[in-house]
Symmetry: D2
Subunit: 331 residues, 4 copies
């Protein structure tokens, strides 16, 4: 591990506010999938991209005003950091998600130029990468010894230094370390991908695009048996589809959880707003993590009775009932 990794702030850099606005941090080191994901964002071209040693370090730079945003993996990563991201977003000073990026999982086997597959006796990579390539290894390199590296990029560096014969990493890392991709597109699971999020300080969410996602962290009021059921019911009653739910320990002891939940739709959609208000009442705490465009651009199915018009119509009807002018015209 390099000294640069040890200190989240790269020495000698100016961390003034002016610079911060043009700076994005990310889970480093350079040459990782996270960097590749970050570079898919158009605005990345005009920002200073700063690798950080860990997810907390990347996010703390944003909290401290030293960077405008941070790109970190949040789901199904091949480089770890996912739990750290979920936990970091749930605690400490609030942050918000403004964008998500999906990157297919596909490894290259990087070797020093001239190395043949037969001569590969030792391989390395991030521990989280191992399960993603285990099947491929057993078929093509059954006798190779695996040893974990601190990151996939670090594994590439160790191959460059001659400590291992081959490293699993992104194909894009080859050039950086003077290696060549011997095999590409290695991934045991079909359709596997990592999801990354671009995180910033809290501000007004971006305008709805029609294909949005809303993320929250929920703390149950009490650990009574049906609490989680009630929470899911709140989404269902409002016609909001849940996309992901993850329980995370709160650090208050085994058996105490909070829930990280993504749902379809934007906080400005009435059905989502309604569900969020219900959760706010139901839960002991709700942290709004943002509404942002879905990377897959899928538009949600809105159930009958849960469109914005339905909510406005119901509110209008209630007002009329309070005034003695309710009606019961069937729809």
């Amino acid at each position: 591990m390099s000294t640069a990794d040890a200190d989240p702030r790269v020495p000698g850099r100016d961390y003034g506010e002016v610079m911060a606005a043009s700076r994005y941090t990310y889970l480093g080191p350079e040459g990782t999938f996270t960097e590749a994901a970050l570079r898919t964002l158009p605005e990345a071209a005009t920002r200073e991209l700063v690798p950080m040693v860990s997810v907390p370090a990347a996010l703390d730079a944003v909290r401290a005003g030293e960077a405008a945003g941070a790109l970190v993996p949040i789901e199904n990563s091949v480089e770890g950091g996912v739990s750290a991201t979920v936990d970091e977003l749930a605690s400490g000073r609030p942050l918000m998600i403004y964008r998500e990026v999906l990157l297919p999982i596909a490894f290259a086997l990087l070797v020093r130029p001239g190395t043949s597959l037969d001569s590969v006796k030792t391989v390395t990579g991030h521990p989280v990468a191992q399960p993603q390539v285990r099947g491929w290894l057993s078929r093509h390199l059954p006798d190779a010894q695996w040893e974990s590296a601190a990151s996939n990029a670090d594994g590439a560096r160790l191959v460059q230094e001659g400590r291992f014969d081959a490293a699993f990493a992104g194909e894009f890392a080859a050039a950086t370390y003077g290696l060549e991709p011997l095999v590409t597109d290695i991934h045991d699971a079909e359709n596997a991908a990592t999801r990354f999020v671009l995180v910033g300080r809290p501000a007004r969410p971006a305008a709805p695009t029609g294909a949005d996602k809303t993320s929250v962290v929920l703390w149950l009021r009490e650990d009574h048996p049906g609490a989680l059921l009630e929470l899911l019911q709140e989404y269902a009653t409002c016609g909001v589809n849940m996309m992901r739910i993850e329980s995370r320990p709160t650090g208050q002891g085994i058996g105490r959880y909070c829930f990280s939940v993504d749902c379809e739709g934007h906080i400005a959609d009435r059905r989502v707003g309604e569900a969020l208000m219900g959760l706010k009442r139901l839960c002991s705490g709700v942290r709004f993590l943002g509404s942002y465009p879905r990377a897959d651009e899928v538009r949600p199915t809105v159930r009958a009775g849960t469109t914005d018009e339905d909510f406005l119509g119901a509110a209008d009807w209630l007002t009329r009932c309070l005034d003695g002018r309710g009606d019961d015209l069937r729809s």
Copy 2:
């Protein structure tokens, strides 16, 4: 049956608007439990009380502006009319409930003066009264023959005329028909009571008293298997306790129902208003039948997270989230 019963409007009476405001109709004839219930209301002393031949007739007089209100039985009656009331409120021109009256069910056995229990061979009463006194009859008059009358009061009249030996009716009916109560406080079931409602044309509901009830009629959007479950869930999610649910045929064929539902609370309570809006979105039709004081004056238990403050706090929080200023302070 008298001619007066046949025509809902008593002939020769002036049905001008001025008079209407001081007139209450009720399910007649005179001397029934409904009249007794009506007389428990303080304002009854200053109104003209007009017996009508049927529940529809009593309500139509209100619809037509010929009466300011109508008192009709709505639950567990000993004189019938309950289904008629529920169905009438669900169809035709809208009406609203403003008051409810509870009257314990207790019959007197009315006889001509001088009649002894031993000499009672035939008894009469409204068919709905029979199940309420069947047990008593089998113990005290096992051999007496029962024949139904058009109403309990009409049964008393038939005893007066000598066609039967005894009639089950309210003790209050004895004087009207020159009879005497041979036995009083007859009722097979403990705690049985009839519930009556005072119905008027739609107007602003009375102010909340803290011990209120809200009534609606609900038509399901479609007869899909879980529709009723969703409807009940809507109440549960808002923390509103349901007090009564009754399915009624819609007249659209066997298997098509609407639901008459009473719940705790007043439409001006946020949790009730929220539930009503949800039902409005969920159902193909909702008829608001009113929020009015509970006769039993029981105040509802309000679940944590469903007070007015909780709803206002959640709405305020949502506004702040939309503005990038949400917080997650735990309660």
Copy 3:
């Protein structure tokens, strides 16, 4: 009303067991829709059909062993008795439903021969018939006076006696009373029908036909807010569609209900048996009223995961798990 009506047992008849087996009672008098419904059953041709004065009387004859079965209206009747039927089945000595009959609601206007529509000034019929013909009356006989009769058939008798000009009754009643149908097929609501059930003493239910219905009465364990919701959830969890739910007062006081519920399927279907067991555990009381063929012969939709094979497969899997041989083959 005739004396025969007053005594549920027709005098002079032999009520021995032998006779009882060939006797069906029904809600009388003769000439009502209930008799017409009973005569649609093939076996009615070989039974003695005995009209009774009331639903309780018809059912008590079965309880007492004086009749093998009783046909009584249970839903959406034009002659009343529906609540009585539901309540009678819920209380007293247990009975079971073995068959149902659907009869379209259609009245004839019966008059003395030679009477023209213009000359009809007074009309009669059962009070429950009135709402079914009210629209027709206001269009064709707006000035006619309505007076209720004890039954539709009794109304016909009163026309025969000259006390009224016309009676609403079944067309089949005309001959009995020497009347003629002036207008036929009168019914305000489209598709309206009455449902009748054939009731007998408890025995093994008939074999499943594939298009069956199961009826129960449920008493909630406690009147806690979510009890009804849990009950409906029990059906939903097992994939059993509810067809009808009706709340009925238990006679234990206002606000205490039991629920009369019909669902799709036969008790011998695993999903229905499973739901019934769940209800048995959940409720303070469950009365099984029978599984019998649906009159409409509609076969239920069985949700994935709730076929008999699914239930048997799950039970088999559980046994294997207990034995350390569970598997997780995906379906």
Copy 4:
């Protein structure tokens, strides 16, 4: 990292069946919290305890018959491996959990003898340990540089070798590496603990103790919006309290999850068996991971209607109903 770590099987060891029965693997290296947890089990004293390089390696040794059991962290670990454990149990050849161990999270700051707190400039430890001690670090060693090690034990080794001044590890690791604990009982969160499970090949679960836990992995039949809700409802309907739910990617692409769920009770408890059968029907796949004693020895609250007697009583009642002998005695 040592060569021993690279090969899951320690060279030169006899892996015959006889030996295997007396061998337990665990997530190594020696001196970690996992080893400490394993040594709390009485039977550990008589087994050969073999450290493995990773959770998959520890579990594969069991699958291959080379060890009788494996102890691995499954929840809230300070040494990682938790997601790996959950994922490994959900895929590959089935395994079962037979025991759980709870170990409070408490670090010691290990230094070479004679080192004072003032002189600590560099610290190390497993990356997962960092968030657990971050608060302590910022208060007591705000200027110390953190660098991650492959494990807490490995960090201790690096301090022994002089590459760092101090390592966060379990106090029990001090002796192994010739270090001394400068500070003990370091943990930012109150009541934090790691949960470990002892895993073996599938067999009959241990007998119920009355304070048991049951673990499963569930795959939803389809990703329809309410699927997770239905799943939780299944537990609720049977009165089974859920203790932990964790969503894990199935490797079939972003947005496809399976659920790792722990609930109260033993598969031999009727309510648990019933819930499991329901899940088996509802889900496309269910993997039973075992019923085993709870480390906290807390006995579950069993809701009315869900005792073994209730289930047996309901089954008995159903049999009687099928035979025409159902009753409705209220409980």
